[in-house]
């Protein structure tokens, strides 16, 4: 199993060396649409590739399936639904927006906001400390253990 996967992935890396099976496209538009759809779908055999690039047997079958659905006049969404009903959301390189994926979509922004908030708090705190330091430095020291005591 692992050896087969490794072999596939090695083969996948040499993808540039040979062209994938061509489809009998009507025109350039159909070809571009086909490429768009297959680029959006993950190959489950070689998981870091889309089915447009993958040389796995299954990717070839799925490419054919996509092509035939296009010929049947199915929309992009219908084709993607066909795939997710069988393979789950994992086949989509662009995960759908739904409660279970909100964290995936918005998590990074939340972290950014939290980081920004902490940074602002930190800067304000330092400014306040500096302001306090200058104001306490201006007044005579309150005691020998005052950390802000100026050395004469």
């Amino acid at each position: 199993m692992i050896r087969t996967c490794l072999l596939w992935c090695l083969l996948c890396f040499s993808a540039a060396a040979f062209a994938l099976d061509p489809m009998p496209f009507k025109d350039r538009d159909e070809e571009l649409r086909f490429q768009d759809i297959t680029r959006e779908l993950r190959c489950l055999v070689c998981q870091n590739q889309n089915i447009a690039d993958s040389n796995a047997d299954l990717a070839r079958d799925l490419r054919l399936e996509v092509f035939e659905m296009m010929r049947e006049g199915k929309s992009d969404d219908e084709i993607k639904t066909f795939m997710t009903e069988r393979y789950g959301d994992f086949v989509l390189y662009r995960p759908p927006m739904k409660p279970s994926t909100w964290l995936l979509w918005f998590g990074p922004f939340l972290v950014l906001l939290a980081g920004g908030f902490l940074l602002i708090r930190h800067i304000r705190g330092r400014q306040r400390a500096r302001a306090e330091a200058t104001s306490t430095a201006a007044t005579p020291s309150t005691g020998p253990d005052d950390p802000n005591e100026m050395i004469p």
């Binding site: 199993m1 489950l44 998981q47 047997d57 299954l58 799925l62 399936e65 069988r86 789950g88």
Partner: protein
């Protein structure tokens, strides 16, 4: 409090990544669990004049075992399937996936044939309907024709004891 924040964030991230290390990206959960098994009507491997129609399988729970003679892991798994099918009188249906029928027949003669029926999926269409992306894969389908469990990769005795038998009410 604020002083410990960076270390707390670091620990949380370390835990998250450590858990991530234990996940197997090769195991993609199936969206078909608790859904009706997709219909198929395919030729029978051992007698191509016969058809295997999964509507006829309603009423008894069965395992649908996806295999091919080209798949080394299927060979590793096979003795376990043969053994459990025999010991617990399980109905096991084979889905012979993109295989050469003659080679598949030889394979069965060599390694044993536990299957009540074997559907030939020559072009891989049925496998796509079931979301199969490697072999072996096995589905447990209940008497109502609902998929209850899926195993990606070879079934082990442990899988039978823990997952398969309890779901069909067989005492191991």
């Amino acid at each position: 409090m604020m002083r410990y924040l960076p270390i707390a964030v670091f620990i949380a991230l370390a835990v998250l990544l450590f858990v991530g290390l234990g996940l197997d990206p090769k195991q993609v959960p199936s969206p078909l669990i608790d859904k009706p098994a997709p219909p198929f009507n395919l030729p029978e491997l051992r007698d191509p004049t016969q058809r295997v129609d999964n509507k006829a399988l309603l009423g008894t729970p069965y395992l649908l075992n996806v295999w091919g003679s080209w798949c080394p892991a299927c060979r590793d798994e096979h003795p376990v399937v043969v053994e459990f099918a025999r010991r617990h009188h399980l109905t096991v249906i084979g889905l012979n996936w993109k295989d050469d029928p003659a080679t598949a027949m030889q394979w069965l003669q060599r390694f044993g044939d536990p299957y009540s029926a074997i559907a030939v999926d020559a072009d891989g269409r049925t496998a796509i309907d079931y979301g199969v992306y490697g072999a072996p894969e096995t589905f447990l389908i209940d008497a109502q024709g609902i998929i209850r469990y899926k195993k990606i990769g070879p079934l082990t005795p442990d899988d039978f004891e823990r997952e398969v038998l309890p779901r069909i009410g067989v005492k191991s």
